[in-house]
Protein backbone atom coordinates (compact mmCIF):
# COMPACT_ATOMS: atom_id res chain seq x y z
CA UNK A 1 0.00 0.00 0.00
CA UNK A 2 1.31 3.47 -0.88
CA UNK A 3 1.79 6.09 1.76
CA UNK A 4 -0.78 8.84 2.05
CA UNK A 5 2.02 11.34 1.94
CA UNK A 6 5.65 10.96 1.09
CA UNK A 7 8.30 13.63 1.24
CA UNK A 8 11.54 12.74 -0.46
CA UNK A 9 14.74 14.75 -0.15
CA UNK A 10 12.83 17.97 0.20
CA UNK A 11 15.07 21.02 0.04
CA UNK A 12 13.91 24.59 0.36
CA UNK A 13 16.01 27.64 -0.08
CA UNK A 14 15.17 31.21 0.83
CA UNK A 15 17.73 33.02 -1.20
CA UNK A 16 20.97 31.38 -0.02
CA UNK A 17 19.56 30.07 3.19
CA UNK A 18 18.55 26.45 3.35
CA UNK A 19 15.44 26.45 5.53
CA UNK A 20 14.85 22.79 4.79
CA UNK A 21 17.73 20.64 3.75
CA UNK A 22 17.17 17.20 2.31
CA UNK A 23 14.31 16.05 4.51
CA UNK A 24 12.44 12.82 3.82
CA UNK A 25 9.63 11.04 5.58
CA UNK A 26 6.57 8.93 4.80
CA UNK A 27 3.19 9.02 6.41
CA UNK A 28 0.93 6.05 5.96
CA UNK A 29 -2.78 6.56 5.56
CA UNK A 30 -4.69 6.96 8.79
CA UNK A 31 -1.59 7.49 10.87
CA UNK A 32 -0.31 10.53 12.64
CA UNK A 33 3.17 11.78 12.09
CA UNK A 34 5.01 14.30 14.22
CA UNK A 35 7.64 16.89 13.40
CA UNK A 36 9.56 18.33 16.33
CA UNK A 37 12.41 20.74 16.65
CA UNK A 38 13.29 24.13 17.93
CA UNK A 39 12.14 27.39 16.54
CA UNK A 40 13.45 27.95 13.05
CA UNK A 41 14.28 24.34 12.39
CA UNK A 42 12.10 24.32 9.33
CA UNK A 43 9.06 22.45 10.55
CA UNK A 44 6.49 24.93 9.32
CA UNK A 45 8.32 25.32 6.06
CA UNK A 46 7.95 21.63 5.34
CA UNK A 47 4.21 21.84 5.83
CA UNK A 48 3.94 24.99 3.80
CA UNK A 49 5.86 23.35 1.00
CA UNK A 50 3.45 20.46 0.97
CA UNK A 51 0.48 22.75 0.43
CA UNK A 52 2.33 24.93 -2.01
CA UNK A 53 2.77 28.00 0.16
CA UNK A 54 6.54 27.70 0.14
CA UNK A 55 8.63 27.09 -2.95
CA UNK A 56 10.36 23.78 -3.06
CA UNK A 57 13.83 23.88 -4.52
CA UNK A 58 14.49 20.18 -4.67
CA UNK A 59 13.08 16.81 -3.85
CA UNK A 60 9.56 15.62 -4.36
CA UNK A 61 6.32 15.36 -2.53
CA UNK A 62 3.98 12.47 -3.30
CA UNK A 63 0.35 12.32 -2.36
CA UNK A 64 -1.03 8.81 -2.56
CA UNK A 65 2.05 7.99 -4.56
CA UNK A 66 1.44 10.70 -7.14
CA UNK A 67 3.63 13.75 -7.46
CA UNK A 68 1.89 17.09 -6.92
CA UNK A 69 1.30 19.70 -9.57
CA UNK A 70 2.50 23.24 -8.99
CA UNK A 71 0.44 25.28 -8.45
CA UNK A 72 -1.72 22.90 -6.53
CA UNK A 73 -5.07 22.06 -8.03
CA UNK A 74 -8.37 22.82 -6.42
CA UNK A 75 -8.91 19.12 -5.92
CA UNK A 76 -5.72 18.98 -3.91
CA UNK A 77 -7.14 21.37 -1.38
CA UNK A 78 -10.12 19.11 -0.88
CA UNK A 79 -7.71 16.36 -0.10
CA UNK A 80 -5.21 18.15 2.10
CA UNK A 81 -5.94 20.91 4.59
CA UNK A 82 -3.89 22.70 7.19
CA UNK A 83 -4.43 24.28 10.58
CA UNK A 84 -2.10 27.05 11.56
CA UNK A 85 -0.19 27.80 14.70
CA UNK A 86 -1.60 31.12 15.65
CA UNK A 87 -5.32 31.06 16.33
CA UNK A 88 -5.25 34.87 16.48
CA UNK A 89 -3.72 35.23 13.08
CA UNK A 90 -5.45 32.55 11.13
CA UNK A 91 -8.94 33.99 11.18
CA UNK A 92 -9.86 37.03 9.18
CA UNK A 93 -10.47 39.73 11.76
CA UNK A 94 -13.40 41.28 9.91
CA UNK A 95 -15.30 38.14 9.11
CA UNK A 96 -17.73 36.32 11.31
CA UNK A 97 -17.28 32.64 11.96
CA UNK A 98 -20.12 32.08 9.58
CA UNK A 99 -18.46 33.98 6.79
CA UNK A 100 -15.13 32.28 7.41
CA UNK A 101 -16.75 28.90 7.18
CA UNK A 102 -18.86 29.77 4.18
CA UNK A 103 -15.79 30.76 2.19
CA UNK A 104 -14.44 27.27 1.34
CA UNK A 105 -17.92 26.15 0.40
CA UNK A 106 -18.34 29.11 -1.89
CA UNK A 107 -14.97 28.56 -3.51
CA UNK A 108 -15.66 24.94 -4.25
CA UNK A 109 -19.26 25.51 -5.13
CA UNK A 110 -20.52 23.19 -2.46
CA UNK A 111 -24.18 23.65 -1.76
CA UNK A 112 -26.09 23.02 1.39
CA UNK A 113 -23.95 25.52 3.25
CA UNK A 114 -26.34 26.10 6.12
CA UNK A 115 -26.36 22.54 7.25
CA UNK A 116 -22.70 21.91 6.71
CA UNK A 117 -21.63 24.93 8.68
CA UNK A 118 -23.95 24.04 11.53
CA UNK A 119 -22.63 20.51 11.55
CA UNK A 120 -19.01 21.55 11.37
CA UNK A 121 -19.50 23.84 14.34
CA UNK A 122 -21.14 21.03 16.24
CA UNK A 123 -18.32 18.69 15.45
CA UNK A 124 -15.69 20.97 16.90
CA UNK A 125 -17.80 21.55 19.95
CA UNK A 126 -18.95 25.07 19.23
CA UNK A 127 -22.66 25.58 19.43
CA UNK A 128 -24.86 27.80 17.32
CA UNK A 129 -24.14 30.73 19.59
CA UNK A 130 -20.71 31.13 18.05
CA UNK A 131 -21.76 31.21 14.48
CA UNK A 132 -22.08 34.94 14.06
CA UNK A 133 -19.32 36.05 16.31
CA UNK A 134 -16.25 37.85 15.18
CA UNK A 135 -12.84 36.43 16.04
CA UNK A 136 -12.27 39.03 18.72
CA UNK A 137 -15.30 37.69 20.52
CA UNK A 138 -13.70 34.24 20.77
CA UNK A 139 -11.05 32.81 23.03
CA UNK A 140 -7.91 31.26 21.62
CA UNK A 141 -9.19 27.73 21.98
CA UNK A 142 -12.46 28.64 20.35
CA UNK A 143 -10.65 30.22 17.47
CA UNK A 144 -8.55 27.18 16.97
CA UNK A 145 -11.72 25.14 16.85
CA UNK A 146 -13.08 27.40 14.15
CA UNK A 147 -9.88 26.95 12.19
CA UNK A 148 -10.22 23.21 12.51
CA UNK A 149 -13.85 23.36 11.47
CA UNK A 150 -12.88 25.35 8.44
CA UNK A 151 -10.27 22.80 7.45
CA UNK A 152 -12.73 19.96 7.90
CA UNK A 153 -15.48 21.50 5.81
CA UNK A 154 -13.79 20.36 2.64
CA UNK A 155 -13.64 16.84 4.03
CA UNK A 156 -9.93 16.36 3.49
CA UNK A 157 -8.13 13.11 4.00
CA UNK A 158 -4.88 14.61 5.19
CA UNK A 159 -4.70 17.32 7.84
CA UNK A 160 -1.52 19.24 8.44
CA UNK A 161 -1.33 20.76 11.90
CA UNK A 162 1.24 23.47 12.49
CA UNK A 163 1.65 23.82 16.24
CA UNK A 164 -2.10 23.87 16.74
CA UNK A 165 -1.86 24.33 20.49
CA UNK A 166 1.34 26.19 21.20
CA UNK A 167 -0.45 29.49 21.64
CA UNK A 168 -2.98 28.06 24.02
CA UNK A 169 -3.09 27.56 27.76
CA UNK A 170 -2.37 24.07 28.95
CA UNK A 171 -5.97 23.40 29.89
CA UNK A 172 -7.24 24.55 26.53
CA UNK A 173 -4.52 22.62 24.81
CA UNK A 174 -5.87 19.43 26.27
CA UNK A 175 -9.31 20.17 24.90
CA UNK A 176 -8.03 20.85 21.42
CA UNK A 177 -5.79 17.81 21.42
CA UNK A 178 -8.69 15.66 22.48
CA UNK A 179 -10.82 17.11 19.75
CA UNK A 180 -8.18 16.39 17.14
CA UNK A 181 -7.80 12.84 18.28
CA UNK A 182 -11.50 12.27 18.22
CA UNK A 183 -11.84 13.69 14.74
CA UNK A 184 -9.05 11.57 13.46
CA UNK A 185 -10.71 8.51 14.78
CA UNK A 186 -14.10 9.39 13.39
CA UNK A 187 -12.93 10.39 9.96
CA UNK A 188 -9.88 8.24 9.47
CA UNK A 189 -7.74 11.26 8.86
CA UNK A 190 -4.03 11.30 8.31
CA UNK A 191 -2.20 13.87 10.45
CA UNK A 192 1.11 15.56 10.17
CA UNK A 193 1.57 17.44 13.42
CA UNK A 194 4.24 20.01 14.04
CA UNK A 195 5.20 20.97 17.55
CA UNK A 196 8.16 22.01 19.59
CA UNK A 197 6.72 20.15 22.55
CA UNK A 198 7.89 16.56 22.66
CA UNK A 199 5.13 15.63 25.04
CA UNK A 200 2.45 16.81 22.70
CA UNK A 201 3.96 15.00 19.77
CA UNK A 202 4.38 11.73 21.55
CA UNK A 203 0.87 12.05 22.87
CA UNK A 204 -0.59 12.51 19.42
CA UNK A 205 1.67 10.63 17.02
CA UNK A 206 2.91 7.18 16.32
CA UNK A 207 6.07 8.29 14.63
CA UNK A 208 8.01 11.49 14.71
CA UNK A 209 10.87 13.22 13.02
CA UNK A 210 13.26 15.44 14.95
CA UNK A 211 14.56 18.41 13.01
CA UNK A 212 17.36 20.81 13.64
CA UNK A 213 18.47 23.68 11.45
CA UNK A 214 16.55 22.47 8.48
CA UNK A 215 17.86 18.95 8.65
CA UNK A 216 16.30 15.74 9.83
CA UNK A 217 18.11 14.60 12.96
CA UNK A 218 16.37 11.35 13.47
CA UNK A 219 13.09 9.63 12.93
CA UNK A 220 11.74 7.42 15.64
CA UNK A 221 8.54 6.05 17.05
CA UNK A 222 6.74 7.55 20.00
CA UNK A 223 7.30 4.40 21.99
CA UNK A 224 10.99 4.53 21.35
CA UNK A 225 11.09 8.06 22.60
CA UNK A 226 9.11 7.23 25.70
CA UNK A 227 11.46 4.38 26.33
CA UNK A 228 14.39 6.74 25.91
CA UNK A 229 15.68 4.77 22.95
CA UNK A 230 17.20 7.88 21.47
CA UNK A 231 19.91 7.88 18.83
CA UNK A 232 21.19 11.46 18.90
CA UNK A 233 22.44 13.87 21.51
CA UNK A 234 20.18 16.58 20.23
CA UNK A 235 17.04 14.63 20.80
CA UNK A 236 18.31 13.74 24.22
CA UNK A 237 18.78 17.45 25.02
CA UNK A 238 15.26 18.19 23.92
CA UNK A 239 14.05 15.38 26.06
CA UNK A 240 15.88 16.63 29.11
CA UNK A 241 14.63 20.16 28.65
CA UNK A 242 11.03 19.08 28.55
CA UNK A 243 11.12 17.56 32.01
CA UNK A 244 11.61 20.83 33.87
CA UNK A 245 14.39 22.58 35.69
CA UNK A 246 17.06 20.66 37.51
CA UNK A 247 19.29 22.35 40.00
CA UNK A 248 22.85 21.10 39.86
Amino acid sequence: MTDALAVNNLTIYFEDFAAVDDVSFNVSAGSSFGLVGESGSGKSTVLRAIVGLAPSSGGEILLDGKPLATPRSKAFYRHVQMVFQDPYGSLHPRQTVDRTLAEPLAIHGIGDGERRIARALDEVGLGKGFRFRYPHQLSGGQRQRVAIARALLLEPKVLLLDEPTSALDASVQAEVLNLLEQLRRERQLTYVLVSHDLAVVTHMCERLLVMQKGQAVEELSAQALAARQIGTAYTRDLMAASTGFKRE
Binding site: L53, R72, F76, Y77, H92, R99, E103, I107, Q137
Partner: protein, 308 residues
Protein backbone atom coordinates in the same frame (compact mmCIF):
# COMPACT_ATOMS: atom_id res chain seq x y z
CA UNK B 1 -41.76 52.09 31.57
CA UNK B 2 -41.52 50.23 28.32
CA UNK B 3 -39.99 53.30 26.84
CA UNK B 4 -37.23 53.09 29.32
CA UNK B 5 -36.78 49.38 28.94
CA UNK B 6 -36.77 49.32 25.20
CA UNK B 7 -33.41 50.99 24.59
CA UNK B 8 -31.82 48.74 27.15
CA UNK B 9 -33.14 45.76 25.33
CA UNK B 10 -31.80 46.99 22.00
CA UNK B 11 -28.48 47.73 23.47
CA UNK B 12 -28.16 44.26 24.90
CA UNK B 13 -29.25 42.80 21.58
CA UNK B 14 -26.69 44.84 19.72
CA UNK B 15 -23.86 44.24 22.09
CA UNK B 16 -24.57 40.56 22.54
CA UNK B 17 -21.47 38.48 22.21
CA UNK B 18 -23.63 35.70 20.82
CA UNK B 19 -25.31 37.30 17.84
CA UNK B 20 -27.89 35.04 16.30
CA UNK B 21 -27.75 36.30 12.76
CA UNK B 22 -25.45 37.94 10.29
CA UNK B 23 -27.43 41.11 10.55
CA UNK B 24 -27.20 41.24 14.29
CA UNK B 25 -23.48 40.61 14.12
CA UNK B 26 -22.94 43.36 11.64
CA UNK B 27 -25.16 45.83 13.43
CA UNK B 28 -23.57 44.91 16.72
CA UNK B 29 -20.16 45.59 15.36
CA UNK B 30 -21.26 48.88 13.91
CA UNK B 31 -22.90 49.81 17.18
CA UNK B 32 -19.79 48.99 19.17
CA UNK B 33 -17.79 51.16 16.81
CA UNK B 34 -20.33 53.91 17.13
CA UNK B 35 -20.17 53.70 20.90
CA UNK B 36 -16.42 54.02 20.82
CA UNK B 37 -16.80 56.89 18.42
CA UNK B 38 -19.28 58.77 20.55
CA UNK B 39 -16.88 58.92 23.48
CA UNK B 40 -14.58 61.04 21.35
CA UNK B 41 -16.02 64.52 21.73
CA UNK B 42 -13.92 66.17 19.07
CA UNK B 43 -14.89 63.48 16.62
CA UNK B 44 -18.54 64.12 17.39
CA UNK B 45 -18.00 67.78 16.64
CA UNK B 46 -16.43 66.74 13.37
CA UNK B 47 -19.35 64.48 12.57
CA UNK B 48 -21.77 67.25 13.42
CA UNK B 49 -19.97 69.60 11.05
CA UNK B 50 -19.95 67.11 8.23
CA UNK B 51 -23.59 66.26 8.79
CA UNK B 52 -24.26 69.97 8.91
CA UNK B 53 -22.58 70.30 5.55
CA UNK B 54 -24.75 67.58 4.11
CA UNK B 55 -27.91 69.13 5.53
CA UNK B 56 -27.05 72.60 4.36
CA UNK B 57 -26.31 71.20 0.92
CA UNK B 58 -29.56 69.28 0.85
CA UNK B 59 -31.67 72.21 1.96
CA UNK B 60 -29.70 74.99 0.37
CA UNK B 61 -32.73 76.27 -1.46
CA UNK B 62 -34.66 76.50 1.80
CA UNK B 63 -31.88 78.05 3.82
CA UNK B 64 -30.53 80.57 1.38
CA UNK B 65 -32.55 83.79 1.33
CA UNK B 66 -31.34 84.87 -2.12
CA UNK B 67 -30.26 83.35 -5.38
CA UNK B 68 -26.58 82.44 -5.32
CA UNK B 69 -25.95 83.63 -8.85
CA UNK B 70 -28.27 86.53 -9.46
CA UNK B 71 -27.09 89.60 -7.69
CA UNK B 72 -28.80 92.78 -6.72
CA UNK B 73 -28.24 96.20 -8.18
CA UNK B 74 -24.58 96.63 -9.00
CA UNK B 75 -24.76 100.33 -8.25
CA UNK B 76 -26.24 100.13 -4.81
CA UNK B 77 -25.88 96.66 -3.46
CA UNK B 78 -22.31 95.86 -4.25
CA UNK B 79 -19.79 95.01 -1.53
CA UNK B 80 -22.17 95.76 1.30
CA UNK B 81 -20.90 94.89 4.76
CA UNK B 82 -22.73 92.23 6.78
CA UNK B 83 -26.15 93.35 7.92
CA UNK B 84 -29.49 91.89 8.79
CA UNK B 85 -30.48 91.80 5.14
CA UNK B 86 -27.23 90.23 4.09
CA UNK B 87 -25.81 88.16 6.91
CA UNK B 88 -22.36 87.90 5.39
CA UNK B 89 -22.61 91.00 3.24
CA UNK B 90 -22.55 91.07 -0.56
CA UNK B 91 -19.81 90.51 -3.09
CA UNK B 92 -18.61 92.47 -6.06
CA UNK B 93 -21.48 91.24 -8.20
CA UNK B 94 -23.90 92.41 -5.51
CA UNK B 95 -24.73 88.81 -4.62
CA UNK B 96 -25.62 87.72 -1.13
CA UNK B 97 -22.57 86.00 0.25
CA UNK B 98 -24.49 83.98 2.77
CA UNK B 99 -26.59 82.44 0.04
CA UNK B 100 -23.51 81.74 -1.99
CA UNK B 101 -21.78 80.08 0.89
CA UNK B 102 -24.86 77.97 1.52
CA UNK B 103 -25.10 76.88 -2.09
CA UNK B 104 -21.35 76.45 -2.25
CA UNK B 105 -21.70 73.58 0.19
CA UNK B 106 -23.22 71.59 -2.65
CA UNK B 107 -20.18 72.07 -4.78
CA UNK B 108 -17.86 71.24 -1.96
CA UNK B 109 -19.78 68.12 -1.20
CA UNK B 110 -19.80 67.22 -4.85
CA UNK B 111 -16.03 67.63 -5.12
CA UNK B 112 -15.31 65.76 -1.95
CA UNK B 113 -17.58 62.85 -2.74
CA UNK B 114 -16.46 62.56 -6.31
CA UNK B 115 -12.77 62.67 -5.49
CA UNK B 116 -13.31 60.11 -2.80
CA UNK B 117 -15.12 57.73 -5.08
CA UNK B 118 -12.62 58.15 -7.88
CA UNK B 119 -9.28 58.34 -6.13
CA UNK B 120 -9.79 55.93 -3.28
CA UNK B 121 -10.86 52.99 -5.44
CA UNK B 122 -8.04 53.60 -7.90
CA UNK B 123 -5.55 53.69 -5.08
CA UNK B 124 -7.13 50.66 -3.48
CA UNK B 125 -7.01 48.58 -6.61
CA UNK B 126 -3.52 49.63 -7.62
CA UNK B 127 -2.15 49.19 -4.13
CA UNK B 128 -3.70 45.86 -3.33
CA UNK B 129 -3.00 44.37 -6.71
CA UNK B 130 0.61 45.56 -6.65
CA UNK B 131 1.09 44.41 -3.11
CA UNK B 132 -0.49 41.04 -3.62
CA UNK B 133 0.92 40.27 -7.03
CA UNK B 134 4.45 41.40 -6.29
CA UNK B 135 7.13 40.95 -8.90
CA UNK B 136 6.96 42.86 -12.14
CA UNK B 137 3.41 44.02 -11.79
CA UNK B 138 4.27 45.49 -8.43
CA UNK B 139 7.38 47.14 -9.81
CA UNK B 140 5.52 48.66 -12.73
CA UNK B 141 2.58 49.90 -10.71
CA UNK B 142 4.82 51.32 -8.03
CA UNK B 143 7.00 53.11 -10.58
CA UNK B 144 3.90 54.74 -11.97
CA UNK B 145 2.87 55.68 -8.46
CA UNK B 146 6.33 57.09 -7.80
CA UNK B 147 6.16 59.18 -10.92
CA UNK B 148 2.88 60.67 -9.85
CA UNK B 149 4.21 61.21 -6.36
CA UNK B 150 7.31 62.96 -7.62
CA UNK B 151 5.17 65.60 -9.27
CA UNK B 152 4.29 68.74 -7.45
CA UNK B 153 0.67 68.08 -6.74
CA UNK B 154 -0.85 71.41 -7.56
CA UNK B 155 1.14 71.66 -10.75
CA UNK B 156 0.02 68.27 -11.92
CA UNK B 157 -3.54 69.25 -11.15
CA UNK B 158 -3.03 72.51 -12.98
CA UNK B 159 -1.67 70.71 -15.99
CA UNK B 160 -4.61 68.38 -16.08
CA UNK B 161 -7.12 71.15 -15.73
CA UNK B 162 -5.31 73.06 -18.42
CA UNK B 163 -5.44 70.01 -20.65
CA UNK B 164 -9.05 69.14 -19.95
CA UNK B 165 -10.35 72.65 -19.79
CA UNK B 166 -11.55 74.43 -16.69
CA UNK B 167 -14.68 73.44 -14.89
CA UNK B 168 -15.55 71.81 -11.67
CA UNK B 169 -15.80 68.28 -13.08
CA UNK B 170 -12.38 68.53 -14.61
CA UNK B 171 -10.98 69.97 -11.41
CA UNK B 172 -12.35 66.96 -9.62
CA UNK B 173 -10.72 64.60 -12.10
CA UNK B 174 -7.44 66.47 -11.79
CA UNK B 175 -7.51 66.28 -8.02
CA UNK B 176 -8.44 62.64 -8.14
CA UNK B 177 -5.56 61.92 -10.47
CA UNK B 178 -3.13 63.58 -8.12
CA UNK B 179 -4.46 62.10 -4.94
CA UNK B 180 -4.59 58.39 -5.61
CA UNK B 181 -0.86 57.58 -5.26
CA UNK B 182 -0.73 57.90 -1.48
CA UNK B 183 -3.76 55.67 -1.24
CA UNK B 184 -2.08 53.12 -3.43
CA UNK B 185 0.93 53.21 -1.15
CA UNK B 186 -1.11 52.76 1.97
CA UNK B 187 -3.07 49.95 0.44
CA UNK B 188 0.08 48.30 -0.78
CA UNK B 189 1.88 48.57 2.53
CA UNK B 190 -1.10 47.11 4.26
CA UNK B 191 -1.48 44.39 1.67
CA UNK B 192 2.12 43.40 2.17
CA UNK B 193 1.53 42.73 5.84
CA UNK B 194 -1.84 41.11 5.26
CA UNK B 195 -0.56 39.01 2.40
CA UNK B 196 1.77 37.02 4.60
CA UNK B 197 -0.74 36.59 7.38
CA UNK B 198 -2.05 33.19 8.15
CA UNK B 199 -5.66 33.91 7.41
CA UNK B 200 -4.72 34.72 3.85
CA UNK B 201 -2.70 31.52 3.71
CA UNK B 202 -5.77 29.79 5.02
CA UNK B 203 -7.94 31.17 2.26
CA UNK B 204 -5.33 30.18 -0.28
CA UNK B 205 -5.51 26.70 1.13
CA UNK B 206 -9.19 26.72 0.42
CA UNK B 207 -8.24 27.09 -3.21
CA UNK B 208 -9.32 30.71 -3.60
CA UNK B 209 -8.20 32.52 -6.73
CA UNK B 210 -5.95 35.56 -6.38
CA UNK B 211 -8.77 37.84 -7.45
CA UNK B 212 -11.03 36.45 -4.84
CA UNK B 213 -8.37 36.90 -2.20
CA UNK B 214 -7.69 40.48 -3.20
CA UNK B 215 -11.30 41.48 -3.61
CA UNK B 216 -12.94 39.69 -0.73
CA UNK B 217 -10.25 39.30 1.83
CA UNK B 218 -7.59 41.94 1.40
CA UNK B 219 -9.53 44.95 0.16
CA UNK B 220 -12.04 45.00 3.00
CA UNK B 221 -9.14 45.18 5.42
CA UNK B 222 -7.47 48.04 3.62
CA UNK B 223 -10.70 49.95 3.40
CA UNK B 224 -10.77 51.18 6.95
CA UNK B 225 -7.34 52.75 6.92
CA UNK B 226 -8.18 54.15 3.54
CA UNK B 227 -11.38 55.68 4.84
CA UNK B 228 -9.43 57.28 7.63
CA UNK B 229 -6.87 58.62 5.26
CA UNK B 230 -9.45 59.84 2.78
CA UNK B 231 -11.34 61.62 5.53
CA UNK B 232 -8.17 63.27 6.71
CA UNK B 233 -7.41 64.21 3.13
CA UNK B 234 -10.83 65.71 2.57
CA UNK B 235 -9.61 68.95 4.03
CA UNK B 236 -6.71 68.86 1.63
CA UNK B 237 -9.00 68.09 -1.27
CA UNK B 238 -11.25 70.98 -0.39
CA UNK B 239 -8.21 73.21 -0.13
CA UNK B 240 -6.77 71.97 -3.41
CA UNK B 241 -10.09 72.55 -5.12
CA UNK B 242 -10.11 75.98 -3.55
CA UNK B 243 -6.54 76.49 -4.73
CA UNK B 244 -7.53 75.61 -8.27
CA UNK B 245 -10.49 77.92 -7.94
CA UNK B 246 -8.12 80.49 -6.54
CA UNK B 247 -5.92 80.17 -9.60
CA UNK B 248 -9.04 80.45 -11.72
CA UNK B 249 -9.18 76.88 -12.91
CA UNK B 250 -11.84 75.36 -10.73
CA UNK B 251 -15.48 76.16 -10.94
CA UNK B 252 -16.77 78.46 -13.62
CA UNK B 253 -18.30 81.71 -12.54
CA UNK B 254 -20.84 82.38 -11.28
CA UNK B 255 -20.84 79.04 -9.49
CA UNK B 256 -20.46 79.72 -5.79
CA UNK B 257 -17.35 77.59 -5.30
CA UNK B 258 -15.70 78.61 -2.05
CA UNK B 259 -12.15 78.71 -3.36
CA UNK B 260 -13.16 80.81 -6.31
CA UNK B 261 -15.09 83.04 -3.94
CA UNK B 262 -11.97 83.61 -1.91
CA UNK B 263 -10.03 84.25 -5.06
CA UNK B 264 -12.41 86.96 -6.16
CA UNK B 265 -12.79 88.21 -2.61
CA UNK B 266 -9.09 88.43 -2.12
CA UNK B 267 -9.04 91.57 -4.17
CA UNK B 268 -11.10 93.20 -1.50
CA UNK B 269 -9.41 91.66 1.47
CA UNK B 270 -7.94 94.92 2.63
CA UNK B 271 -11.18 96.87 2.76
CA UNK B 272 -14.11 94.49 2.35
CA UNK B 273 -12.73 91.65 4.40
CA UNK B 274 -16.04 89.82 4.59
CA UNK B 275 -16.04 88.86 0.95
CA UNK B 276 -13.12 86.50 1.42
CA UNK B 277 -13.68 85.83 5.09
CA UNK B 278 -17.02 84.06 4.77
CA UNK B 279 -15.96 81.42 2.25
CA UNK B 280 -12.59 81.21 4.02
CA UNK B 281 -14.34 80.44 7.27
CA UNK B 282 -16.59 77.95 5.51
CA UNK B 283 -13.61 76.11 4.07
CA UNK B 284 -11.91 76.20 7.41
CA UNK B 285 -14.86 74.85 9.32
CA UNK B 286 -15.63 72.09 6.89
CA UNK B 287 -11.98 71.09 6.65
CA UNK B 288 -11.78 71.08 10.38
CA UNK B 289 -14.90 68.94 10.50
CA UNK B 290 -13.40 66.36 8.19
CA UNK B 291 -10.14 66.39 10.09
CA UNK B 292 -11.86 65.86 13.40
CA UNK B 293 -13.99 63.15 11.91
CA UNK B 294 -10.93 61.48 10.43
CA UNK B 295 -9.13 61.56 13.74
CA UNK B 296 -12.14 60.04 15.41
CA UNK B 297 -12.51 57.38 12.75
CA UNK B 298 -8.89 56.50 13.18
CA UNK B 299 -9.46 55.92 16.85
CA UNK B 300 -12.54 53.88 16.08
CA UNK B 301 -11.54 51.90 13.05
CA UNK B 302 -7.88 51.39 13.70
CA UNK B 303 -7.75 48.28 15.85
CA UNK B 304 -4.31 49.21 17.06
CA UNK B 305 -5.39 52.58 18.36
CA UNK B 306 -8.47 51.19 20.03
CA UNK B 307 -6.48 48.63 21.93
CA UNK B 308 -4.67 51.27 23.83
Amino acid sequence: MTDMAQPQHWRAWLLSDRPASRRQARLGRAYAGWQRFTTNKLAMVGLAIVLGLVLVAAFANVIAPYSPVEGGDLRTERLLPPSAAHLFGTDDQARDIFSRVVYGSRITLFVVVLVAIIAAPIGLVVGTVAGYAGGYLDAILMRITDIFLAFPKLILALAFVAALGPGIENAVIAIAITSWPPYARIARAETLTIRSSEYISAVKLMGASPWRIVLRHIMPLCVSSLIIRVTLDMAGIILTAAGLGFLGLGAQPPLPEWGAMIASGRRFVLDQWWVAAAPGAAIFIVSLGFNLLGDGLRDTLDPKASDQ
